[in-house]
């Protein structure tokens, strides 16, 4: 068959596309929010340690080592954060060379800072913090962070006993507490990001699934429809072939029946395709005006602001039919379209100049309109003057479409 209905699942309105774009922008924003929180925490810990060492009156060399080394370490973790964005749960734990470099930088900074300051805690925190960004399998990271926090608490305790002077100020306490809780805070932040990504992936796969199901349903519908009609047509043709030598009249009627079947199949396929196309009434009227203008008619349109609440199932076909009539039979100089609402009814009116030759063939179409509108409780009135032709359709508000 030649007609190919567009798979409904591929039809994506501009609104949906905009929604998706907004969502992906939102996710990108959330990522930057997450990253900047972690970056800030890491920067703060370097600053707090440097401040604490300065406050304790350590030598400039020690302070500079911790400060500058800290900055290098701080920058090296950015690489890992960038990788973290691309991580998936299923990937194997394979450290890339760049990741190894980050780990080595963290270890070296820890070693140098630890030796320079004599603090165990400061020696271990950088490596622990850096390793939080590795692609740990789910569940393992929780154990790692609990273990790491425990280790840091012990080291803090040792520092407090051996290194930190008994009369140390609150800066020591702050930096110690901050160091111990940093891995846990980082993991919490990343965990929040993970949850968001999981939800987003679930949403994406759900909409993919819905699209696939819709596509399958359409395919089945098309297949059933075409299969049925083709079978009927094949039978009718076969019968005509058999009847041809003996009963040409019967053969002819079978051929005519086959042609009707083809028409039905075509109409069915078209209905299937149209099922997924509907636009709001104001758009339909705007399209009608565009068409008339393209044909060289000057068009005036009046549409109420809330016209998308008018009953599209009744008025849509009316607009199509009357526009086609105006295109075909109208004089082609001017047309006026309006869709307005008065107290209790929607009123659609199309008025155009009459062609020189009196229109003759639009009767059937208008009768169809009349039947349809009357079924919906409305009324149709046509006005035929010497210069103009008008159709006025009124549909009571009670049949207003649900939004």
């Amino acid at each position: 068959m030649s007609t190919s209905p567009v798979p409904a699942a591929d039809i994506e309105t501009a609104a949906q596309r905009r929604g998706r774009l907004r969502l992906s922008r939102g996710i990108t924003a959330t990522w930057w929010y997450t990253v900047s929180a972690v970056v800030f925490l890491e920067f703060m810990i370097v600053a707090v340690w440097t401040g604490a060492l300065a406050g304790a009156g350590r030598s400039t060399a020690v302070i500079a080592t911790v400060g500058l080394g800290g900055l290098v370490w701080w920058l090296s973790t950015f690489v890992l954060m960038r990788d973290y964005r691309q991580r998936t749960e299923h990937e194997q734990f394979v450290p890339r060379p760049l990741v190894l470099v980050s780990l080595v930088i963290a270890a070296c900074f820890g070693l140098v800072a630890g030796l320079a300051s004599g603090l165990w805690l400061l020696g271990v925190v950088p490596l622990v913090q850096t390793s939080m960004f590795l692609n740990w399998p789910s569940g393992v990271r929780l154990r790692v962070v609990i273990g790491a926090t425990g280790l840091l608490v012990v080291l803090w305790f040792i520092d407090g006993r051996l290194v930190v002077p008994p009369d140390a100020g609150s800066a020591w306490w702050l930096s110690g507490f901050f160091s111990v809780s940093l891995p846990a805070m980082t993991v919490l932040t990343l965990w929040w990001w993970d949850v968001l990504i999981t939800v987003d992936r679930a949403r994406a796969s759900e909409s993919r699934l819905a699209a696939t199901q819709e596509r399958l349903r359409v395919a089945t519908d098309v297949h059933d429809l075409q299969g049925h009609h083709l079978q009927v047509i094949a039978l009718q043709l076969e019968l005509a072939e058999r009847l041809m030598p003996n009963d040409p009249d019967a053969a002819l009627s079978q051929l005519q029946a086959a042609r009707r079947s083809v028409d039905e199949a075509r109409q069915g396929t078209r209905d299937l395709a149209l099922r997924f196309r509907s636009v709001p009434l104001p758009d339909e009227i705007a399209n009608a005006a565009d068409l008339l203008r393209a044909a060289g008619t000057s068009v005036q349109v009046t549409v109420d602001a809330d016209a998308d609440r008018a009953p599209a199932s009744v008025l849509g076909p009316v607009i199509r039919e009357t526009t086609t009539n105006a295109l075909r039979h109208g004089g082609g100089r001017w047309a006026r379209l309006s869709l307005t609402r008065d107290a209790d009814a929607w009123r659609y009116e199309i008025e155009n100049d009459a062609a020189d030759a009196a229109p003759s063939a639009d009767g059937a179409g208008l009768e169809g309109i009349g039947r349809r509108v009357e079924d919906g409780g409305g009324s149709v009135e046509t006005r035929r003057g010497a210069q103009e032709f008008a159709v006025v359709v009124r549909v009571p508000v009670s049949v207003e479409e649900p939004r």
């Binding site: 501009a14 998706r20 774009l21 636009v279 393209a294 526009t323 295109l327």
Partner: protein, 200 residues
């Protein structure tokens, strides 16, 4: 006798339709063409009364042939299509096509339309009109469409700005408005969408 030119790239359909039309007492098929270029040449040579043009043809499509032919020869064009894509009817009407009908119509109906068009009338099939009316509206403003049109061959922002006598910054603003309205990331994609829907 109405002299008709028939252009369709599908040979089966073309010959069957020609044979059926020749059965009509008042219609004579004077040329059968397999593509747009051929149809254009034949129409200029023979100046038929009515050209029956398939929309989907390699090279020039039916509407383009109609636009060029009607500029030179006093002939009336009917465009036939399998699937009236958004915007095509609008384009066809604007370029002076007198009739538009879907391919599914029987030869007797086609003959009727040919007679009507030859007599000076206009025929737009209700099915095609319904398709055109249930189009998605273009969300772009006229100025944004101008920018897309001026840049459809990959012109730079500077060239578009010169063509439209606008500041490059204004052009960039229009482009970014278009991109966000159509939810695409490049101007090329926006042009493709707009061409597909018949907005430009």
């Amino acid at each position: 006798m109405i002299r008709v030119l028939l252009a369709d790239d599908e040979a089966m359909i073309r010959s069957a339709l020609a044979a059926l039309l020749r059965l009509e007492p008042d219609i004579d098929v004077v040329a059968e063409c397999a593509d747009g270029e051929e149809a254009l040449a034949a129409a200029l040579r023979l100046s038929p009364d009515v050209c029956l043009l398939d929309l989907e043809m390699p090279g020039l499509d039916g509407v383009e042939v109609a636009a060029r032919v009607t500029r030179v020869v006093a002939t009336r064009c009917v465009v036939v299509t399998r699937h009236a894509r958004p915007g095509v009817l609008r384009r066809a009407l604007a370029s002076g096509v007198s009739g538009f009908l879907p391919k599914s119509r029987g030869a007797d109906e086609v003959a009727e339309v040919i007679r009507r068009v030859a007599a000076g009338g206009r025929y737009v099939d209700p099915e095609v009109a319904a398709d055109a009316l249930s189009d998605e509206r273009s969300p772009l403003t006229d100025r944004e469409l101008d920018v897309l049109r001026a840049g459809r061959r990959g012109e730079t922002t500077g060239q578009i700005a010169r063509t439209l006598s606008l500041a490059p910054g204004t052009v960039r603003n229009h482009v970014s408005a278009v991109l966000s309205k159509l939810a695409v990331s490049t101007r090329q994609q926006a042009v493709l969408i707009a061409e597909e829907r018949g907005w430009i």
